[in-house]
Symmetry: C2
Subunit: 164 residues, 2 copies
Amino acid sequence: MNVTTPTSKPIEKLPQELVESTTFLLKRLGFAAKERSLGEYEELGLRPYHHAILLLLDEGSRETQGSIADALGYDRGQLVGLLDELEERGLVERKRDPNDRRRHLVRLTGDGTKTLRRLRGIAGRIEDDFLSPLDDGERAALHALLLRLAEKHEPRCALLPQQP
Amino acid sequence: MNVTTPTSKPIEKLPQELVESTTFLLKRLGFAAKERSLGEYEELGLRPYHHAILLLLDEGSRETQGSIADALGYDRGQLVGLLDELEERGLVERKRDPNDRRRHLVRLTGDGTKTLRRLRGIAGRIEDDFLSPLDDGERAALHALLLRLAEKHEPRCALLPQQP
DNA sequence: TATTGTTATACTCTATAACTATA
DNA sequence: TATAGTTATAGAGTATAACAATA
């Protein structure tokens, strides 16, 4: 459902109760951020999913497909297609793990590193534009609050080990 | 892509750069909030879209389909199906506007009001659980910050008229 | 001719599960 | 038998545009 484009006419207001709901704002802003990202990444023919994969590979050299999927929370079947697209463009390489021939080891290529640099630039611009209504202190405060929520709802975001 | 269910195994960490990105956290948390809402609303056979429509009708008695779509940012074609579902359950009524027979006037029924009460209860519980890592002051601070962003990215959320 | 609501279509996303090859 | 990766399929969600009635 297209929720992004404001009408040009006098703007009809959302119900007050929705605007007062923090989870509603999170849903709408998350959607807006996603739409923005999809649009900006399009110039490289990639999506945020690809960026996340390249970032992960850039951090810890070689990963198996299963560990990539687990770390990013992606479905393994979906990951195959994403890696196919990255491999076709020569941004990553897959090769069999000689120790366990069921596994594929994936790694960044030189072109992948270059493309990652461009993606970082795009992502940085999106971040800065999206947060432009806030000053630096407010941005830090928002990030800290979101991180607290993410530790509960997205445990992969946790900075420190969970205490159950 | 299934991003909700944490694995039971030792949790693989997301790339640090993603966790440090506020827009990334907004996307993930917005998605998590959406999934949570969809699940909880299921017991009534409804979705958050229906809740938003009922809230809008509850605020300002009779609305045309076009004004509902504009206020909520929904596609008009999609709204038809949502209203069909609400009408089948007897939660809203549609009738032609005698002044302009192209228009349909939509209003809440008594059952609609009752169901809205139950939806408010569900939404309140979701809100409280989702924000449970934060105390009251932190929740207010987060809401205020998100509202600032929403005024830019979702003008319908604006509390005061825009100054262009 | 423009607008309101409706319907139909197509396209994207994603969830599921069957399949292979290795272990 | 269980696991890693692959492939195929179906379903939900949504965007687009054609359409009928009315202005």
